[in-house]
């Protein structure tokens, strides 16, 4: 069975990471920024899986499980913060939340 070279998997991971990075820099909507962070975390996990497949060890998949756990916790807390921001400021603009008035 022919297999793929490592660099193509890493190039795919890098491309997805760059797309998520562009989106998180460009967007002003705070939910789109959260989605972009999810894309970047997924790309980092893909790089771990490619590295684990190159050495034939299970360590890469263990790291991906840790990343997926962290992404789930991050998105739940982030969505709770977004709901609070939207109830207080009545907008999803991330620039509107720069005044820390308690």
């Amino acid at each position: 069975m022919e297999t793929v070279a490592v660099e193509y998997g890493l190039i795919l991971a890098g491309t997805l990471f760059a797309l998520g990075l562009i989106s998180v820099l460009v967007r002003r909507n705070i939910i789109f920024m959260l989605i972009s962070v999810e894309i970047m975390l997924n790309a980092a996990g893909l790089a771990f899986i490619v590295a684990g497949a190159r050495w034939g060890q299970a360590d890469g998949q263990v790291m991906f499980i840790f990343i997926i756990t962290m992404a789930a916790a991050e998105v739940s807390v982030g969505l709770a913060l977004i709901l609070q921001i939207y109830h207080q400021l009545k907008t999803l603009d991330s620039d509107a939340a720069d005044k820390m008035k308690g």
């Binding site: 022919e2 793929v4 190039i11 890098g14 562009i22 939910i31 034939g56 998105v75 969505l79």
Partner: protein, 178 residues
Amino acid sequence: MQATFYIASAVAVLATIMVITRYNMIHALLYLVISFLAVAIVFFILGAPFVAALEVIVYAGAIVVLIIFAIMMLNLKEEAVEQERIWFSGNTWIGPGVLSVILLGELIYILVSSASPEVSSRVIDARDVGLSLYGPYIIGVELCGLLLMSGIVGAYHLGRQKKKVVHRFLEQTDEWKQ
């Protein structure tokens, strides 16, 4: 096997480009599901079937559905799409986009110019992952449990609505009733 890898990679990149250029959030999330499914196919080709299933269940299932429910709770109208179109138009994306593409080009150049070993064709199934997870990485599992616990407590504390008092006389009448 190589052709499936390249097709799944192309689908993943195209779906991600569609995610970051949509104005409507629900459309972006549906393209995000496509992207996650394509990445799951890439995981399967790379010999990681357990993680491919986990990607479909947790990312494409749980996390996207959680974001969709949060968007439904926000109850956004048509003006949100127009506002997003106004924010996204203009030349604000040129600077970050060009600089990120330059960095990506450098990364691709470094990866291509170095030696290219093949991926080993050994399939690492759930048994190997479980043995490694509960053997040398047991402290990481415990820390993940702690992280999820703090995530639950934090989401409950932040998402709790404060009790609204319409008027102080109304509050007093409530106290008199008690």
